[in-house]
Symmetry: C2
Subunit: 134 residues, 2 copies
């Protein structure tokens, strides 16, 4: 697998309405998109920081993945996404190196990207996403 | 404050000895430095990913900050560090915007950087570091 950069960092927040002003006013970053992803039961807000994005995630359902994460661990960093050249081949590559996968094949993510998750049990507690255009 | 990019992501691990091979072999990243920071009661390992670094943190003392973090939340992402042009001025700027600070003035961090932390109570659960050369 060939990782070029960190594509984004997903951060679980209790409320976009209160978190966005912190990132905009206190940190001086600009929110360029807010999007609801019904399938993941989240509302998201995106900020660009150099070559990386920050993706704030507000749960729309306590039973969704972000709702459960916040209940268990509190708000904070939720996942780390690496940009790779080929997502399916990279997932296969990870599995061949003994990594447990959440996704054996890519699914379609935000912004037209192909995405796949490695299991945090295999990644030392960090929910790790691979994403890319191919 | 002017953030240019994400300088590094700090990840708490139980053991560098087992985590480094995952980052090197499964993700294909290269560990370029291992360093003990006695003051912080950690051993660190650094990887470069595009313009960002991943800093793995192993506690050398259960009473240190990483030891306590792992006891409370388990291993995983610990802090997020933004590169800023002027660290002290950026800390002042954050405080003027109502952010609670851990460090009112910078201290000296790894790799010759000046660093200062914002308090996670003010940053929606993400322990946030500002760092830079000035």
């Amino acid at each position: 697998m060939k990782i070029s950069h960190i594509e984004h960092i997903g951060i679980a927040v209790e409320s976009l309405e209160t978190a966005i002003p912190f990132y905009e006013k206190a940190l001086g970053l600009k929110c360029y998109a807010v999007e609801e992803v019904a399938e993941q039961k989240v509302k998201t807000a995106f900020f660009k920081v150099g070559e990386t994005k920050i993706e704030l995630l507000e749960s729309t359902d306590p039973e969704g993945p972000i709702g459960k994460f916040i209940e268990k661990k509190g708000p904070g960093m939720h996942h780390l996404a690496f940009a790779v050249d080929q997502v399916d081949a990279s997932l296969e590559d990870a599995e061949a190196n003994g990594v447990r996968l959440i996704d054996k094949k890519h699914r379609n993510g935000a912004e037209g990207l192909k995405i796949g998750f490695l299991h945090p049990k295999s990644t030392f507690g960090v929910l790790t996403e691979l994403c890319g255009h191919e």
